[in-house]
Symmetry: none
Subunit: 221 residues, 2 copies
DNA sequence: AAACTTGTTCACAAAATTGTAACAAATACC
DNA sequence: GGTATTTGTTACAATTTTGTGAACAAGTTT
């Protein structure tokens, strides 16, 4: 919570703490930046009018390094450029005076959205192949095909980085998890099974072997 | 969002995502149809000028199967036949260039309307299956079947989001309530009893297991 | 209070998956 | 051509997940 007026700071802090949030405060822009760097907050409430460094500048600085959700606070009458706010990467704004309940509700809403945000754009689509990650669905040639969880994650990873070659070790790390202890040849088996299931409708072979290197996802020629 | 120009796609995506929407994009009419069939969007933003299959055709195709809200995008000067648009079932149209704010506002307005329209409709109907939420009645194969409250709510939730996979945890959250402390395997038992009751008239199995993921409601193939 | 309904949990069986090893085929190199 | 290396394929065992039936608990109705 970045705000120069002590009374507003205390009020906002109190209500958020009541909801179970942990709240840290800063009274000017410079201190805000220092704090934002030293510990990673889940959300920043940022007043526009600040000593030393105004809200716009703070927002711009923060956005250079993180994508933490930011809610801007503006005094009524203060002209607020919404488009500029969005471009700088603010997630919402509240005009003062505001009701504490509204403020809390917006904080919660932004946090909820932020949680979902990482999962957006979950559909990959190539000629004759459609992969929807959030629905765990794959269509090949208009027909849905059933993949096992590992097969699905492997296909998703490869299709997310088309044309790029990955070694078996890299695939194990990215799909199976860090420091996977098992046999790299495990990947071969899964690739084979994937090819089997994907080739059904006579579509081309999306997963290509790069001899001596690994595998890659081939886009249309 | 169906649009062939990448810059417009990215701009619209960015603004909608900032508002918390999940956005998937397609760059031509054919891809749009494939995607619209594979996962059910809440709204479609549809450019008129598209490669392969123009906006009119896409709209006509989509309307054959669903009543999803459609907003048409037209370039200024491009002749736009409003009457034809309405007849094909478009819900609104925006002329380019448009301000992002206006676009977001219209999307929200159309969704608001659609939501209200949907609320009145408390009946879900699939081949051989009819679910009336307001009356808490279920008919399978023309015969009424008795479900317990939890069974009913579970079926309703799944049937309201067809084709989409839900993990046991997600189902507990959505049907039982947030932060349900109990055993996720409880869902299995309810699914089992639901299947038992639904299969009576030899109808197909609507509730499908997705191995390693959860369950989903399958529409007719 | 007894009978019944509903929801939950547990244990075990059944099914699907994943990982590994062995062998065959393909490729690069000399 | 011959050899070593890499990749494809197959089979099988180990593991994980799901289906099922029964038991138990809590709440409702009779």
């Amino acid at each position: 919570m970045v705000e120069d007026e002590e009374s507003v700071r205390d009020l906002v802090s109190m209500y958020l703490k009541k909801e179970g949030f942990r709240v840290e405060t800063a009274e000017d822009g410079e201190k805000a930046l220092t704090m934002a760097r030293s510990f990673a907050p889940d959300l920043i409430l940022l007043d526009l009018m600040l000593p030393k460094l105004d809200g716009w500048a703070v927002c711009r600085e923060i956005r250079k390094t993180t994508s933490v959700p930011i809610i801007m606070l503006t005094a009524r009458g203060e002209e607020f450029d919404r488009v500029l706010g969005l471009e700088l990467g603010a997630d919402d704004y509240i005009t003062k005076p505001f009701s504490p309940r509204e403020m809390v509700a917006r904080v919660k809403a932004v946090l909820r959205r932020a949680k979902l945000a990482g999962k957006q754009n979950t559909v990959l689509s190539y000629p004759g192949l459609l992969i929807d990650h959030s629905a765990s669905r794959v269509e090949a040639g208009g027909r849905e095909i059933q993949l096992t969880p590992k097969e699905f994650e492997l296909l998703w990873f490869l299709a997310s980085h088309p044309r790029r070659v990955y070694s078996r070790e890299q695939l194990l790390e990215n799909v199976w998890g860090y420091a996977y202890p098992g046999d790299p040849r495990t990947v071969d088996t899964h690739v084979k099974r994937l090819r089997e299931k994907l080739k059904n409708p006579g579509a081309k072979n999306y997963i290509v072997t790069v001899w001596g290197k690994g595998y890659r996802f081939e886009t249309a020629e």
